[in-house]
Symmetry: C2
Subunit: 326 residues, 2 copies
DNA sequence: TTTCCGAGTGTTTGCGATAACACTGCCGCT
DNA sequence: AGCGGCAGTGTTATCGCAAACACTCGGAAA
């Protein structure tokens, strides 16, 4: 910086100003400095800057499995939004969502002095972890449940599930079976709640939900059993991979979809439109969730207080896996 | 740090030593310092440390679409490996893989003084970008093509494609059609190369490859056309989503898989085993690639020179979408 | 006994930037 | 003419840490 200042014939302070508050420097001086910066290929030293300002311009994201469609898309959305606000994103992925591992991940990020952290933790065991966070660090949760002591951005799972269920009921099905996600997952219980309340609202019988583990395999296994029950004409599966397994199991057992059984999934993964038949499913706008989470975090960093929940509405995408009951 | 030193009755320098080179401090002194660190909840200041050491302990990853299975898994592998080496990972995602956008992404990371960068750029247009990188920054490329001026870690696409093709030929198919990825993708051309050379080795006719765009949709569209050609009994699709589209198109047209047409995919996404029929495909170990890339980068950071290529062998996973020709 | 060595610890300095404050002219007001 | 104010710039102090070098002291070697 000293060199740049020398070349431009000004003091180091002025160089700093040109970079951080250009309007405070007379245009011609500014131009000289900028030219010097160019010529010397000067780049401000990040460490020195954040040492003195106390901020780093880096945000952290803690997540469990960034390989899954949901977390990956959310992360992507966060990164995109962060870029627009001139923040960089660092990641800490976890093996499990325990209180301990969350604390570890946050700690790793914090030791690199991130300005704030977004935790993607759609699991109930994470809530505990969220309660024991350092309170001097701005934190936002994505997809978290009720009663979490930090701001939350999430898709309204219950609403999406209710839409899916009502869609099936509107097609004349007497009730809707549910292939749920594993217990303890916030998303799973939200979807169960929405499904159940939609059935209740119509006075329908509420079957016991079948519990899967998000995998296509679990959908397949449940599907094999369900195929033998002629009562089952409509199934709401809690995600698309399970729907895929379900589709295959039903087909193998000679059931036709949607003629014999209608199926609705959840997520709208890019392939869902090319399942056979194309899957009716609930689209989650993960990018939007990521953006909202980032906004909440920036607010927190900016000193805004309060526990906020930002809910994003999902959207039912009707394709060909659902049809009028016959 | 001063406070910790005071509490432990030592100088600040000793505290620093306890943290960075514990063996140079007498055990009892060390214990006193550690106790003081505990008591005061002291955490070293990252900015100050990297200001004086010149290193940040942060690596950057530049990638285009971290939502896709391949890049997402690679990123995950990199992060896991980085964690083991006490590095943190920052990400910069790109809209497109042009020379300009790559330069921008690298610049964003560099301005936060990352110690090195891994670029996930399976596109030929990226090669140009890789050629114009600042040479004072350690860079490693994942999935890059030949002639790239930086170390590369990648799956051996040609080898995987050849395996897939030989598998189909060994089942008695006279030749194998190929549904390829889009031109300009390194992976796509590698797979074409492997497929072609396997056919050549057996003296088979080499059909013109059909060019898709990785999406299930493009697989579906090509599939609809292919379904009418009775000559086509074996298809090697360049990824799993295209295989999915292909499967559906063939089924819709009344073709049976694998009885009438055998199909092999590429990737082994988690759902592949639950396609209908379960997909024979080539598994890429992205985690391994990520780990190798990280190792290369650490070598570079450590001062090791030379253009290295680390190839990871893919593996053929035989399921039920392939059968003896009838 | 003296000398030397080295393990363990302290002191000083500087990393590169910004914040806070101080200075310099010039302008317009009284 | 004299003063205040303000835009533009410079000076100084400081952020928290580690590198380099200096010091101390006890034990081994001469």
């Amino acid at each position: 910086m000293e060199d740049v200042a020398g070349l431009a014939g000004v003091s180091a302070m002025t160089v700093s100003r040109v970079l951080n508050a250009p309007e405070k420097v007379r245009p011609e001086t500014r131009a000289r400095v900028l030219a010097a910066v160019q010529e010397l290929g000067y780049r401000p030293n990040f460490a020195a800057r954040s040492l003195v300002t106390g901020r780093s311009g880096v945000l952290g994201v803690v997540s469990m499995d960034t390989t899954l469609y949901g977390p990956a898309s959310t992360l992507y959305g966060i990164e995109r939004a962060a870029r627009q606000h001139d923040y960089l994103v660092s990641i800490a992925s976890l093996q499990a969502l325990t209180r301990r591992s969350i604390a570890e991940g946050v700690e790793r990020l914090r030791s690199q002095s991130v300005d704030g952290v977004i935790i993607i933790a759609p699991h109930e065991s994470a809530a505990e972890g969220l309660r024991h966070l350092p309170k001097d660090l701005p934190v936002v949760d994505v997809g978290g449940g009720e009663g979490v002591p930090v701001p939350v951005a999430a898709v309204d799972q219950a609403s999406g599930a209710a839409r899916a269920t009502r869609h099936l009921l509107s097609l004349g099905h007497r009730t809707v079976w549910h292939l749920s996600g594993p217990a303890n997952w916030i998303d799973a219980s939200g979807r169960i709640r929405g499904w159940r309340s939609a059935l209740e609202a119509e006075g329908c019988e509420i079957p016991e939900p079948l519990v899967g583990d998000w995998s296509a395999q679990s959908g397949y296994e449940h599907g094999r059993r369900m195929a033998h029950d002629p009562e089952i004409t409509a199934v709401f599966a809690a995600n698309d991979p399970m729907s895929l397994g379900l589709l295959r199991a039903l087909r193998e057992a000679g059931k036709r979809v949607p003629e014999d059984v209608s199926i609705v999934g959840f997520d709208d993964v890019p392939e869902a439109a090319y399942f056979w038949p194309p899957l009716t499913t609930v689209r989650q706008n993960f990018g939007e969730v990521g953006g909202q989470a980032l906004q909440l975090l920036l607010d927190r960093i900016g000193g805004v207080e309060g526990d906020v929940r930002r809910m994003v509405e999902p959207e039912l995408v009707v394709r060909e896996s659902t049809a009028q009951r016959r």
